[in-house]
């Protein structure tokens, strides 16, 4: 079984430029999460999808961040324009979304550096 796939793995951009990250969850996982992880800290949720619906985007800075999950499978997270403080690792995770407490499966992350 393929794991959670993310691309690109690394991205370096100038501030004020746009950037996009892509995630393909594990097949059959209807819940998809985007997290931001700063160095030495735990992941912080940006947005959570149940199928194609964003059910929790309260921590997403909507003035510059946007996300979509068309057809309830893969997802794209975009930042426009990027700021220096956006430098971090962006993690995607997926789960079956039931109440069994299975836990989440994480992708390798995209390390973003904003210069």
């Amino acid at each position: 079984e393929a794991g959670v796939v993310q691309s690109p793995r690394y991205k370096i951009i100038e501030k004020k430029q746009p950037v996009a990250f892509w995630c393909n969850p594990i097949s059959g996982h209807n819940t998809l999460y985007w997290y931001l992880q700063n160095l030495g800290q735990g992941p912080e949720l940006l947005i959570r999808y149940e199928n194609e619906e964003a059910v929790d985007d309260s921590q997403l800075p909507k003035d510059r961040f946007s996300a979509e999950r068309l057809k309830g499978v893969d997802s794209t997270l975009k930042i426009q324009p990027a700021e220096l403080g956006d430098s971090a690792v962006y993690l995607c995770a997926s789960s079956r979304g039931n109440s069994e407490g299975e836990g989440q499966f994480f992708g390798p992350g995209t390390r973003l550096t904003v210069l």
Partner: protein, 118 residues
């Protein structure tokens, strides 16, 4: 709102020895799940062990076991016979099981960096 605290930013252990990582959490819910995740340097995060709050028996996965104290809201991870490959950041996480509270939300602690000394 739920919170998760890991009071040990860094820990070290001699190879083959045992180490315990601490985690405490705050919640008003009675049913929930607790997890320990491992994140090796520059590698992806993986689930180490999970505990269901309604089960009194502590979870065990090979060399990894937990000490779950529900009344004290404590969830520590014990690693026995530590190996070099255990060196990583370890994150404690909480997840509600109540559907009407967006149960699929997971809250992570700040992490503990574990070093294994040869």
């Amino acid at each position: 709102a739920q919170t998760v605290t890991q009071s040990q930013p860094e820990m070290s252990v001699q190879e083959a020895e045992t180490v315990t990582l601490s985690c405490t959490y705050d919640t008003s819910e009675s049913d929930y799940y607790l997890f320990w995740y491992k994140q090796p340097p520059s590698r992806q995060m993986i689930l180490v062990i999970r505990q269901e709050a309604y089960k009194q028996q502590n979870a065990t996965e090979n060399r990894f076991s937990v000490n779950f104290q529900k009344a004290a809201k404590s969830f520590s991870l014990k690693i026995s016979d530590s190996q070099l490959g255990d060196a990583a950041m370890y994150f404690c996480a909480y997840r509600s099981s109540a559907r009407w509270t967006s149960y699929d939300k997971v809250i992570f602690g700040p992490g503990t960096s574990l070093s294994v000394i040869p």
